[in-house]
């Protein structure tokens, strides 16, 4: 044992590490949620907790069940892949109600709504339809465009078109 005579202090320091490691394991055992790692690098119970939260969105299939005429028009237009609730907001209360007319959705104001995607910006791709403030001032977008299929078959009225610029990119 004489070989270890002068290593006592080193073993004690190493012992500190071992103790610290075991304390770490014990603390870890208590603080890491039991469901952690169940499905991946997160708390498994988080999925159940999320699923238990109230839903607000119905999904486009629910809308299309009753509004097949709109769905049909939309499916042929540029907004075919834009979900109904992206513009109309969460509609589960409307879709699941016994009398949907009692939870009638508020019609979006297109002068505000459309700009969220189509306001002109230099950072947007050139072929993405964009409009500046000088495009048909004072008119709502839906006066000329059907939001469910916004492409226009004919140019807007001549008197208004002469005072404004057409949108950049896309079909005018």
């Amino acid at each position: 044992m004489s070989a270890f005579k002068n290593t006592g202090h080193l073993l004690r320091f190493a012992g500190l590490f071992v103790i610290a490691f075991f304390i770490f394991l014990i603390v870890r055992h208590f603080v890491v949620p039991k469901s952690f790692g169940e499905y991946g690098h997160y708390r498994g119970n988080a999925i159940k907790e999320d699923a238990a939260r109230p839903s607000y969105y119905a999904g486009h299939e629910a809308c299309e069940g009753c509004h097949s005429d709109v769905a049909d028009k939309k499916s042929h237009g540029k907004h075919a892949h834009v979900n109904c609730e992206a513009c109309h907001g969460p509609q589960l209360a409307h879709a699941s109600a016994d009398d949907p007319s009692k939870h009638k959705p508020v019609l979006p104001d297109t002068t505000v709504l459309c700009k969220q995607c189509h306001a002109a910006s230099a950072a947007k791709p050139k072929n993405f339809p964009q409009v500046g403030d000088d495009h048909m001032p004072g008119m709502a977008c839906k006066d000329c465009h059907n939001p469910h299929s916004p492409a226009m078959d004919q140019a807007p009225a001549e008197k208004t078109a002469s005072t404004s610029k057409a949108p950049q990119g896309g079909k005018k």
């Binding site: 004690r12 320091f13 603080v31 969220q116 950072a123």
Partner: protein, 393 residues
């Protein structure tokens, strides 16, 4: 990000990383640099710089204790930080850094300091009374064996720890460069040279910091500065600085030669918004001037008092220059976005969580730690002052 809609890059509306994130690589760099200076004594047997050995170790420890604080302050919720250790994700560089930090703190710095000071700790545990004596007793871990053989063993183990410590210091700081260098969305940062640039600038700033600290503390204690020691540090500082300068120049030349799609935007930024911090402070004041000053001390035989003054000026300029380098990397990299359309502005707040006062407090904190540490573990080379007797057999 309130009020932001549509196509925007995050830093087009404001900077996400403040002065605290500038401090973070600066402080970890000082740790790595100070440790490299200490390794000159242990591993490379450069006896001339021995007077700074313990001071370098304590400096590294003081700064290492403060290193995570800027991040904690920036992120908020410090109570969540242990989760990085409890449930680390292997793809998270930050989580891996947590382990590197802990390894470097406990297995390298604290262990090496403990081994080096053991004789003093045992001595003080017997001579000091009250709470101080009790703390020393705890620090002995119950072993008072300071025989020659035990101390010889400590020396050998200390050598191995330092040897492991050098790559550890490189990993500790190389990681910080890695974090920036691996962000491919930011051409100002995205460079495989970034970790190397960070390591060498860290060595330069850490060596300067310990040199200045040694000169200042010796002066404050009314003792004579060991000029051979400072000359040797300055020589190593000069050589390391040349490598640092060469690597940074290589990075710059590579960017200019490559001239990718970001070049015009970055070049304009360097000549406008970053002109003062990058060209004037970092390159002219913080790099070329101290490099020329240190070269003069190496080329010409100057009187001792002139050399000392040059070392102080060069060391101070290097500290400012390396801070400017961190500033230009962190803040400069956020002034533009991947759209390369225009620049944003960083406004340094004063009395906020991430303001100037918080940054100044974080800069002062390591010195408070160092002041406290040097009371418990005197780093001064005049061993007679501590009254430690020769090792017992």
């Amino acid at each position: 990000m309130n009020g932001v809609e549509g196509f925007m890059y995050p830093n087009e509306i404001g900077l996400q990383w403040s002065i605290l994130i500038v401090l973070y690589p600066y402080i970890t760099g000082l740790v790595a640099g100070a440790f490299i200076l200490a390794s000159l004594v242990r591993i490379f047997r450069v006896e001339a710089v021995r007077p700074t050995y313990r001071l370098a170790l304590l400096t590294a420890l003081s700064f290492l204790l403060v290193a995570p604080l800027p991040l904690q302050l920036h992120l908020g919720h410090p109570e969540r930080s242990p989760e990085m250790y409890f449930t680390p994700h292997s793809t998270s560089a930050m989580a891996m850094f947590g382990y590197v930090y802990l390894w470097y703190l406990m297995a390298v710095l604290v262990f090496e300091i403990w081994l080096d000071y053991r004789a003093e700790i045992v001595h003080f545990s017997k001579t000091k009374k009250g709470l101080v004596g009790f703390i020393y007793k705890v620090m002995t871990l119950g072993s008072t064996n300071v025989s020659h053989k035990a101390l010889e063993l400590d020396e050998k183990i200390g050598w191995i720890v330092t040897l492991i410590g050098i790559p550890s210091a490189f990993i500790l700081h190389g990681y910080v460069g890695f974090i920036f260098g691996s962000i491919k969305a930011n051409p100002w940062w995205n460079s495989p040279l970034m970790p190397v640039v960070f390591i060498f600038s860290a060595m330069v700033s850490g060596i300067s910091a310990v040199m200045l600290l040694y000169m200042a503390t010796t002066k404050l204690r009314g003792l004579k500065i060991d000029i051979a020691c400072v000359d040797t540090i300055a020589m190593y500082l000069f050589y390391t600085f040349i490598i640092d300068f060469a690597v940074e120049s290589l990075d710059l030349i590579h960017r200019i030669y490559e001239a990718d799609e970001s070049f015009r935007s970055l070049n304009f930024m360097v000549h406008t918004k970053l002109y003062i911090p990058h060209i004037v402070i970092q390159i002219m004041l913080g790099t070329l001037t101290p490099l020329i000053l240190l070269a003069i001390t190496q080329l010409f035989k100057l009187p001792e008092f002139v050399r000392k003054r040059i070392y102080v000026i060069a060391g101070s300029l290097i500290m400012v220059g390396v801070f400017a380098m961190r500033w230009n990397v962190v803040i400069g990299g956020q002034l533009f976005s991947k759209s390369f359309l225009g620049y944003t502005t960083y406004k340094l707040a004063l009395v906020t969580k991430e303001g100037l006062l918080a940054a100044i407090a974080l800069c002062i904190l390591p010195f408070i730690f160092l002041y406290a540490l040097q009371h418990f573990l005197p780093p001064w080379p005049e061993k007679d002052n501590t009254g430690v007797p020769e090792a017992t057999h």
